[in-house]
Amino acid sequence: MTYQDITCLNDNCRLAPGYRHTANLDLSSLVGEWRNTNPATGGIAKIHISQVQDRLEIRVFGARSPDLCDWGLLPVTVYAYEITGETVAGFELTYEFDDQQALVTAIHNRGVLVIHTYHKFKDDGLRTNFICKEFFHQ
């Protein structure tokens, strides 16, 4: 069997009998400004999330003295918690900078946005690829 012959990789990709897809995922729980729970962070200080029709756009602000570093406004890929798509789980996107790529993943749970950022440097030979795990509240 080849991957072209199939539409499901595993059981999670399959909708259980009696369930149906939700037409539109409710994104409202993610919209707004999210601030790092650690005000002294050296990572991401805050992010802005806005909804444009059925999509989300985010703007990340890195903590960098003396001012914040605006990473720019980008659309994200939004993910549901289940294949039925009733509850939004979070999003991911990748920022491309001159000398690094930053994969930002965010999951929302009980009012906290948990963000993991995977920094991959473009062969500057100076810095190690690293993960940054942080928590945000509204």
Partner: protein, 136 residues
Amino acid sequence: MQIVKHDDQKSDASALANPNTKVDLSCFLGTWVNTFKDTRSITRFVLSQTSMGYTITTNVSDGVGDLGTVEVVPFAPTVDSTQADGFVARYEFGFLEMLLTSYYTKGLIVVSQYTRFKDGSGRPDYFNREFFFKTD
């Protein structure tokens, strides 16, 4: 050197003490099994090292079973360290893309799975997170 946040900066002392920037994933090599036996997703995965770098081979419940082997990019906990704290891998199947991100904590590897459908089936992209322990 572009700095997009404070933590991007490596200290001069650290750079002199440890000029190596390659992240070492060797302590995670081997087979990792899902803590949840009845998972509907990834049942186990194997991390390996080749001459080209690190790879992951993933098995899922039902469906195709073996997803095959792809490259793994390891990540350290800070810009100064070289011991892996997690990894990222990406499976591309045409109709579906699966991003795996992970980190290590307390003997477990926590894997977040971001599944994106590209086949126009109307299935929403979805997320799930699972926990794996080492067996060998």
